[in-house]
Amino acid sequence: MDQLFNRKYIVQGLFIAIALILLGKLFYIQIISDAAFVSAESNVLRKIYKYPARGAILDRNMKVIVQNEPVYDLMVTPNEVKPFDTLALAQALDITFEDVRKNLKKARGKSSYQATPFLKQISVQSYARLQETLYRFPGFRTQDRTIRHYPDSVGGQLFGYVKEVSPTDIEKSEGFYKPGDYKGKSGLEFSYEETLRGEKGVINTVYDAHNTPQGSYADGKYDVNAVSGERLISGIDMRIQKLGEELMTNKVGAIVAIEPATGEILSLVSSPGYDPNLLVGRNQGNNYMEFIVGNPYRPSLVRPIMGYYPPGSSFKPVDALIGLQEGVIDPNTTFFCPHYYQAGNRKIKCEHFDGSISLRRGIARSCNTYFCYVFQKLITKNGMKNQRQTYQEWRDKVAKFGFGSKLDIDMPYERKGYFYTADHYDKIYGKRWGYTNVISQAIGQGEITATPLQMANAMAIIANRGYYIKPHLIKGIGDKNLVKKEYVVKNYVGVDAKHFEPVIDGMQDAVNTSWGTAILSRIPDVVLCGKTGTVQNPHGKNHSVFIGFAPRDNPKIAIAVIVENAGYGSTYAAPIASYMIEKYLKGSVSSGRAAQVEWMKNQNLLPLLVDKTKKIKLTKADSLLLKKADSAKRIKDSLRIKSATIKQTVTTKPKELKTALTDKPVIQK
């Protein structure tokens, strides 16, 4: 045993050290890290997803308004492709020889091991032709999916559209969406995505290193069947939705109709609209650019919930209600109307001559002076010094009607409108301001704006005599017909029911008397209560507005109609509302008015497009000329509708007489 014997320990020590290093690394990759395990699973497992059918949507009469249609994608797995008859495939698919090569190259670029779409949504004919010959094209297979179909071709903005998920969607969904999945991007498809989408199914298959399937994984223990999305029942009445969109052709504006007792939306028209079927299928991208982005009237703006309009005269009933509730007026209060209202050094004009005017007539005749006095009384009731505070209180009371805040409709991108607090005016006028500064709000002009939905909702409040249920589109989710909690709660606005009758009297007169503002919109056998509005529009011609509800007792429908740049409320908005209501209540517009409906559908009221970038500065003389031309056209318009109506009365004289007779007792009521 020499001294070198000790070197044995060095050699053995080295052996042990290396063994520990090996074990250390093994410990890491086998026990600490599970990266290898995950990779191993992804090596052998291929998940084939089964796409569920999206839930259908029915209207209030259980008519299917959104459904699914089967489509077939031709998928290709590039490294399974063997040389094939390119021409035969091209012919079967109705595409060119070059397309086949181009698509194949594109698929190869994506992945050579996984099936990628070769041609999406092939026609049923191509599919049938292909099925017989598919065996000749190894590596190709068809995958069936469903796409949306909208049988009535209306309600583009209402339903929204479904689109392949974007990378941001995938990231946000925390693993729910995978590339190639579809998702609702706007409208109902967006808000009810989680209900409609259903659950994806998955089939796990084991593959070997040569990408040959080796059968089901763990005997299908982890396979999941696809679960279809749940059915939705909407409050929409497709008959009036369709009529509304037809009436609004070539017009810019919105219609919102609500069932007051339930808050269910009966119709939500945004014009210009588009056929939702355009945003389905292969041409989705192109159509989107052409018909939505490319339309200068911006169909992407869902006007019923996103459009800001001053409510105009349609705000007056709210003024009256607050005035009555606060006791500053009673149903018999009269004010003297000298054809204008003097607020400080500003004059607010009236369009009628009545002299001393009462509440009922004030509403029917849409007297600006009357409501300016009401507003003046409201704001100054606590003395001139407390006007700021009183204004804020008034604002809060009006806000209870839903103005200035969102109504939480079940659609995305709802906006709340402007309705300023006292703080806002402090910033503009300092601490010293009074009713004269904000008087234009009395007649729904100036700073206040509202969405058509808010206006229709205000009508629903009047129809309900004091409360509203948040307007909503979907009244039943799934087989159990569930409805969201917030859509059954009554929201009271703090005005006693007794105060509504005088106001409703005025609104009834507006439509049903010879001196009302909306007399052209009478509906035979139905007491329509309403209010026209002619909204001053700083950007061009006045907007035509009508709000109303019917029938007077036990109202079934509350409505707001806005036609942009159309002139007087009575000319366009009011008739449109009356046709909608008649159709809803009676199932059809009485044949006496059918010709009017057709006439209305054919009216083109699209405003002229002004290229703002090339706007020429107008001289005073120019603008005067323009104003003259505008007012001339306005008069012509009202003459035209009158003549159309007159023509109608000539052709269907007996019926018109009848309706006139039935109207009478109602007026006397």
Binding site: V11, Q30, D34, D208, A209
Partner: protein, 420 residues
């Protein structure tokens, strides 16, 4: 005495080693069976990989037991001839060998393929043992180091010419028996230093390395500024080290084949390649890692069954063990090897004759190199070097050469009381 006479051939054989040997062969067979595609395991036949391996194991065992029948002294006497024979075979393979995958390493005799490099290991071990045993050099002089270097270097060079870098690398294992016999520990340190510098040269820019080396040398010289001899040798080492750095760069570009370069770069993490050269290592690591603690179970490994790891029955057999038997199985295998290696060293130390001791150390260190490089490669801590896992990997040549290597030592050990 009668009893001893009857058992003359197997007298004093270390049966524990034989048992470990059989255990490792059995582990090999089981895992080769698991790594063939499922459709081939349906019918047992001798044409399948595992069928052939079974033949190799049985013939190997017969070969080993028959080695025990020889007189131990014969190996000492005939070592120059065995060594010469293997050298001749190595030369012959360069001329008449079959080229497989770029390496001219095989001589085909009928359907049987012989790999001379495998047999060169015990030829070299025997002659080295004989040299050290006969002259008992302490490797303090240049001459004895040169002679030992020549004995190891000749077959190494011939194998490099095939070229089979992996097998050639194994010959570095002979450093350890020489170290045991007196070679200065500095040689091991220099060897270790060369490996460290080699890896560092890829990860750190050369000029930074030069700055580091000269700084260390400078401090060292400053500390020993009175000792002229140390200053001189330090300067010498520094110059060599810096020269070596440049040599690596040149050798890397000019000498190494592209596939070897990419293997080194992959191992050092300088590049990733999931499809090409890195595929083997990544798939092997995935297979081993997916075994987790207890493994997926015999024949349950998906990576194994569906052919994700190339060369699975030969060089990458450890990935099957890792996947199907998990960390526990890997520990058992490594434990068995360690037990075998430590026992071999202990056995070597109990030899009376230097010849037997040197040979014993050689066997242990060759096995050690194989185990370390092979397992290290499958788990990605060593670049891909294609050498088999002793006794477990599929293949006749390698199994038989390890059998011969081991059983010669067992025979020498059983004769340890006599003179060799």
């Amino acid at each position: 005495m009668q009893q001893q006479q009857g058992n003359r051939f197997f007298f004093n054989v270390d049966w524990i080693t034989v048992l470990i040997y059989i255990a490792l062969c059995a582990i090999g067979f089981i895992n080769i069976y698991a790594s063939v595609p499922p459709e081939q395991t349906a019918v047992f036949g001798f044409s399948t990989l595992y069928g052939k391996q079974l033949i190799y194991i049985i013939t190997g065992l017969i070969l080993g037991l028959s080695i025990l029948l020889f007189d131990g002294r014969l190996f000492n006497v005939f070592s120059p001839f065995i060594y010469g024979g293997t050298l001749l075979l190595l030369m012959a393979v360069l001329v008449i060998g079959n080229k497989v995958a770029g390496n001219q390493a095989w001589i085909a005799i009928g359907s049987f393929k012989l790999q001379p490099a495998e047999f060169a290991k015990f030829g070299t071990a025997l002659l080295l043992a004989r040299y050290v045993g006969a002259f008992n050099p302490k490797f303090r002089d240049v001459k004895s180091i040169m002679i030992a270097g020549l004995i190891v270097g000749a077959p190494l060079l011939l194998i490099m010419l095939q070229p089979d870098t992996g097998s050639a690398l194994v010959f570095l294992a002979f450093m350890f028996p020489l170290y045991r016999e007196g070679l200065s520990g500095y040689f091991l340190l220099i060897f270790l230093g060369m490996i460290v510098l080699f890896i560092a040269d890829f990860l750190v820019p050369t000029y930074i390395l030069i700055i580091i080396i000269t700084t260390i040398a400078g401090l060292f010289i400053y500390n020993n500024r009175r000792k002229q001899k140390i200053i001189f040798s330090t300067v010498l080492v520094t110059v060599f080290a810096i020269g070596y750095l440049f040599l690596i760069k040149i050798a890397y570009e000019k000498v190494l084949a592209p596939h070897q370069r990419s293997r080194i770069e992959l191992m050092l993490g300088l590049k990733t390649d999931n499809k090409g050269a890195g595929y083997n290592v990544i798939q092997s690591q995935i297979a081993i890692g997916s075994g987790q603690a207890t493994g997926r179970g015999f024949l349950q490994g998906t990576q194994t069954k569906y052919g994700y790891v190339p060369e699975q029955s030969t060089d990458f057999i450890f990935s099957t063990i890792g996947e199907e038997w998990g960390f526990i199985g890997c520990s058992v295998v490594i434990g068995l090897y360690m037990f075998l290696l430590l026992r071999l060293v202990n056995l070597a130390e109990r030899q009376r004759s230097t010849f037997s001791r040197v040979y014993g150390y050689s066997v242990a260190c060759i096995l050690f190199f194989h185990v370390f490089i092979n397992i290290g490669m499958t788990i990605g801590i060593i670049p891909v070097i294609g050498i088999p896992l002793p006794l477990i990997s599929y293949g006749g040549s390698s199994l038989w050469s390890f059998t011969i290597l081991l059983f010669i030592f067992l025979k020498l050990d059983s004769n340890r009381m006599g003179f060799i």
